[in-house]
């Protein structure tokens, strides 16, 4: 790609092109994988700018407006199957649908009312602990060497922020560990399964320590029995 092509993709990612150039950018994206890769990188940056812009909460009625518009659209444009060409179904989208089916098969969506109440008490305490770390002025992000997400550290307090962590299967739980030296120390349990799991790390996380997560039997164990699914870089 020449300089002009790079600039075209940047302008496209920012939605800063006039209609004729937008069309040129689309043509380029159709034929160039390099251009698509660059667009992906640039749109992650622009989406981050969107996050930084977020101000007041949307009005409460907007949610229903969005859903009503979608439902009305479905009633006027049918059937879905015939207007969508099968070859357009993304491979990873199909994998995600399979993951959803597997999640149902594992019974992950069944929760009793009483456990929900217990969950909400524990969740409140967790949220308060996590918010204190995330909001502190010296909070910094530490990379994960394994797993998707970030370890946020403030002093010796730490919070794991994990994305797309599959829910722990029935009879299992995720266990957090602090590895400072040779022996991992238990640092809390969580079930995963959220779009974003925010998990405060129990105990202190000193300089040079790593935070790990393993899948363990429900109730947790005293020493890890499986390979970590999440591992931070040294703090």
């Amino acid at each position: 790609m020449d300089a002009e092509a790079h600039e075209l993709i940047a302008g496209y990612a920012l939605d800063a092109l006039e209609p004729d150039e937008r069309a040129r950018a689309k043509e380029l994206l159709e034929r160039s994988e390099e251009a698509r890769d660059e667009l992906r990188a640039f749109t992650e940056a622009t989406a981050a700018m969107a996050t930084a812009a977020s101000g007041p909460a949307p009005p409460p009625g907007l949610r229903d407006r969005v859903l009503d518009a979608a439902r009305a659209d479905r009633e006027t444009v049918v059937p879905l199957a015939s207007r969508r060409r099968p070859r357009l179904v993304p491979v990873l989208g199909a994998a995600a649908a399979v993951a959803a089916v597997v999640a149902v098969a594992l019974g992950l969506w069944g929760l009793s009312v009483s456990s929900d109440l217990d969950d909400s008490q524990a969740a409140l305490a967790q949220a308060q602990a996590a918010a204190a770390v995330l909001a502190s002025p010296d909070a910094r992000a530490v990379a994960l060497e394994q797993g998707d997400g970030t370890l946020v550290v403030s002093g010796t307090d730490a919070v794991l922020v994990l994305s797309s962590m599959a829910a722990a299967p029935a009879g299992k739980t995720y266990e957090v560990w602090v590895l400072d030296g040779q022996t991992p120390v238990p640092a809390g349990l969580f079930d995963g399964g959220g779009a974003r799991d925010v998990v405060p790390v129990d105990g202190s996380v000193g300089a040079g320590a790593k935070v790990l997560v393993t899948l363990e039997p429900s109730g947790g164990v005293d020493a890890p029995t499986t390979t970590p699914v999440v591992a931070s870089a040294p703090v």
Partner: protein
């Protein structure tokens, strides 16, 4: 309680990408869950550009309708699902602001009501959004002034490259190269402070 409250609880456990797959099959409760996750950021960027609550709502509604209609064409290897949704809403907001002559006469000002409490958001989400916001603002502040100005006027102001060239009195080629250099630099700065990688289908069992 809403009739689809139970369905929403079920979807809580799915990744954004899995929700898009369900939306592609016409599942409106999956669209509702996506709105609950991304609606706040989507509305925030739309309001930043349009500076009018009614128009911002229009942009969010139209953006999510685009998600609803084109979910089957979403490709996870091209963008994270949340990024894709924000991109569609941003594009609608920019299209609307360019239609509205009114905006062009107004000075670009920061949105008021920043950091207003969100009764629907959890404390964790609020704290995380605050952390992310700081991280991005820090990265933006580290850019050369001319690059930051180009990015902000384009992405937050909805100005096109040719409009900016005229407004700032510089050649359009300069604007284009500032945008490219600024975006590349911003991306590198964000990468330094974040390791969140692309979503990959993964089952830990």
């Amino acid at each position: 309680m809403r009739e689809d409250a139970w369905a929403l609880r079920r979807h809580r456990h799915l990744s954004d990408e899995a929700l898009i797959a369900l939306v592609a099959r016409g599942d409106d409760t999956a669209l509702a869950e996506l709105y609950d996750r991304i609606g706040r950021v989507a509305y925030g960027i739309a309001l930043r550009i349009l500076r009018d609550e009614r128009l911002a709502e229009d942009a969010v509604q139209e953006g999510f309708l685009a998600v609803w209609r084109s979910a089957a064409t979403f490709r996870a290897e091209r963008a994270k699902a949340s990024t894709w949704v924000v991109t569609l809403v941003h594009r609608r907001a920019v299209d609307i602001v360019r239609r509205e002559e009114r905006r062009r006469a107004e000075p670009l000002e920061p949105v008021t009501g920043q950091d207003a409490p969100d009764p629907a958001g959890s404390a964790e989400d609020e704290a995380w959004l605050g952390f992310e916001r700081e991280r991005v603002l820090t990265a933006l502040a580290a850019l050369p002034d001319a690059q930051r100005e180009s990015l902000e006027l384009a992405y937050y102001g909805g100005y096109s490259q040719s409009e900016l060239a005229e407004m700032l009195g510089v050649p359009i080629g300069t604007i284009k190269s500032r945008m490219f250099a600024g975006l590349a630099r911003l991306r590198a700065l964000l990468d330094e402070t974040d390791t969140e990688t692309a979503w990959t289908p993964r089952l830990t069992s």
